[in-house]
């Protein structure tokens, strides 16, 4: 049996998970916005320049499909320390945050469905076989699996990238993407050292104020984002030199960061700037303030330039 072979559920469990999933699916936007509003409140960004509902729309349209594409669907590789994974959500995270997403958001129908399921399967977090089956079945729905990405974008550990998106959607996305791939240590000196760049732009060194610092960057945020991308390219090249233990990962890392012309972080930058900031396909119903802010942001990114050492 391959590690990509999905688990098999007995009919009763499948029915129960599917019933719960149908309740979640019909409320997925509401859950996402509740999570996002929490991030905004906790980050101290009181007056977002772009509304949370539009950012959730951007996440659903552009960001989440790209992340899910890179993460793949089901994997339960014995050598993967994360263990069973469905659409980028590992079993451990799934168990730990299930209640946070579906109960703590306090949306009545969702809460009831989750509580009923927990009562019916009180040991599902202790039984990994059962946990894997539930993870697979529930996250077959891409929108539901996307809630974990939104939770990630709303997390304090990543310094509230969703709040940063209210000022600069790409900068917030890029912060979250790097945290997703490398962990929150991405900011520190042992990883990409984004903190060093931020200090050059006037950050006070307090991680709790990082999101607010990014929001206050204003027109400089596009330039700041480009510095972060270059910093990450340099870091990947440094730690994946031929012969090193990470050499095998270099191609994949570079593809995801810059080399894949359609789904890399850089390609996503263009998508976000063209489709969201400049709203070139009229996909989003922005109000005049949002349009004005994003238009300026879109023009700033037109000057984006990536300097790669050869």
């Amino acid at each position: 049996m391959s590690y990509t072979t999905p688990p098999t559920l007995n009919p009763n469990l499948k029915r129960d998970v599917d019933v719960m999933a149908s309740v979640f699916a019909s409320n997925v936007d509401l859950i996402a916005q509740t999570l996002a509003n929490g991030a905004l409140k906790n980050s101290g960004v009181s007056t977002p320049k772009v509304s949370v509902s539009k950012l959730v729309q951007l996440l659903n349209n552009v960001v989440i499909p790209v992340i899910q594409l890179w993460e793949g669907a089901w994997s339960d590789h014995p050598n993967d320390s994360g263990g069973a994974t469905m659409r980028g959500v590992i079993l451990k995270t799934f168990k730990e945050t299930f209640n946070q997403i579906f109960i703590d958001t306090n949306i009545q129908a969702v809460k009831s469905a989750a509580q009923s399921f927990n009562a019916r399967y009180p040991n599902w977090r202790k039984d990994d076989t059962l946990g894997k089956q539930i993870l697979y079945e529930l996250n077959k729905n891409e929108r539901i699996a996307g809630l974990w990405i939104i939770l990630f974008f709303s997390s304090k550990a990543c310094r509230y990238p969703l709040a940063v998106m209210t000022e600069d959607p790409f900068l917030g996305f890029f912060m979250a993407e790097c945290c997703w791939a490398t962990g929150p240590g991405v900011y520190g000196p042992n990883r990409c050292n984004f903190d060093q760049v931020a200090k050059q732009y006037g950050w006070n060194g307090q991680s709790s104020s990082f999101a607010l610092f990014c929001v206050n960057l204003g027109p400089r945020s596009a330039e700041f984002a480009s510095k972060l991308v270059e910093k990450r390219v340099q870091w990947i090249m440094r730690i994946s030199a031929p012969g090193s233990k990470n050499a095998v990962f270099r191609k994949g890392w570079l593809n995801r960061l810059v080399n894949d012309s359609k789904n890399s972080n850089i390609a996503t930058l263009i998508k976000i700037n063209e489709l969201f900031n400049l709203n070139s396909k009229n996909m989003y119903a922005f109000n005049s303030n949002e349009s004005q802010h994003l238009k300026l942001k879109g023009q700033a990114y037109k000057t984006f330039s990536l300097n790669i050492p050869t």
Binding site: P65, P242, D260, K262, I266, N273, L275, M283, S305, I308
Partner: protein
């Protein structure tokens, strides 16, 4: 090299990345990649899968994954991230006609087979590890039939992952010394020194004669690297008095030990608690007349 926004946008548009907002599978080839960071190109290996999984540290691993070979166009692609040489054939023979055959590996050398591995030599085989010689992977071997390793560890000595080997000559000497001490032992009795009878001495001598049998004439291990003995205990400062001399005359008669069955008391055995009101009368076991 500098990549401008317009260049990046053209790269995305040429792949149709702006016409559909949904992510699609990453391109397998790099022909339309806008950015060209120097990378290690995949090497296509038009060959069949390596044929088996191998047991490493007690767990089965797919050789294809182990060698960083992934499915590519028409065969396998080298995702190792550096150069690697793979010989994959129905049979592979390496033969050195006049001098040594040498295998060296910076990180290690792995020799594996799903069946058997034989190392033969007309003269001798020496296995040396600077950090020690370990045989087996603890608790990982497949045992015969349904036999399972014990779940509870040993008592009173808790199992360790590895235990030291025993040195044959030293063990033989130890057993021999033990037997000599037993044979020469002085046993104090109320009427003086005692010794083993001749037949017991004979048995001990037979045991002593079997000691060389435990020493292999074929397999040897390093005889220098071993633990040191514990400190010797202090010898006794005083010894028991020399033999006691009993002087006198014993008067009386003796009879040979009886070989008949012991006599059974005639009176009935009653339970001393039978008169107690709180005594709980149980069913007697094996028809034993308790009351």
């Amino acid at each position: 090299m500098n990549y401008s926004y317009e260049q990046l946008k053209q790269g995305l548009e040429s792949r149709g990345g702006l016409s559909s907002v949904q992510g699609t599978a990453p391109a397998a080839s790099a022909e339309a990649v806008a950015i060209n960071i120097p990378e290690l190109e995949p090497v296509e290996l038009p060959m069949e899968d390596l044929s088996y999984t191998t047991n490493i540290q007690g767990s089965q691993q797919d050789l294809n994954l182990l060698l960083s070979l992934k499915d590519g166009n028409g065969g396998k692609q080298n995702n190792y991230g550096s150069s690697q040489l793979i010989l994959n054939s129905d049979r592979v023979i390496l033969n050195s006609r006049a001098d040594y055959l040498m295998l060296f590996g910076e990180k290690g050398v792995a020799i594996s087979s799903p069946n058997h591995v034989n190392i033969d030599a007309d003269e001798s085989v020496t296995i040396f590890g600077d950090g020690g010689l370990f045989l087996g992977v603890p608790g990982k071997g497949t045992l015969q039939g349904n036999q399972k390793p014990p779940k509870t560890k040993g008592d009173p000595t808790v199992d360790g992952n590895y235990e030291p080997l025993v040195l044959g000559t030293k063990l033989a000497n130890l057993i021999e010394d033990l037997l000599v001490i037993i044979k020469n032992a002085t046993i104090l009795t109320p009427v003086g020194k005692g010794y083993f009878r001749e037949d017991t001495m004979y048995e001990l001598a037979c045991l002593q004669a079997r000691i060389p049998e435990i020493l292999s004439t074929y397999g040897y291990i390093d005889g220098i690297s071993h633990e040191v003995p514990d400190p010797q205990p202090q010898p006794p400062s005083t010894l028991a008095p020399e033999e006691t001399t009993v002087v006198g005359t014993v008067v009386g008669t003796s009879t040979a030990p009886t070989t008949s069955s012991p006599s059974v008391p005639t009176q009935q055995v009653t339970n001393p608690l039978a008169d107690n009101n709180t005594f709980f009368n149980t069913q007697t076991l094996y028809n034993d007349p308790l009351d």
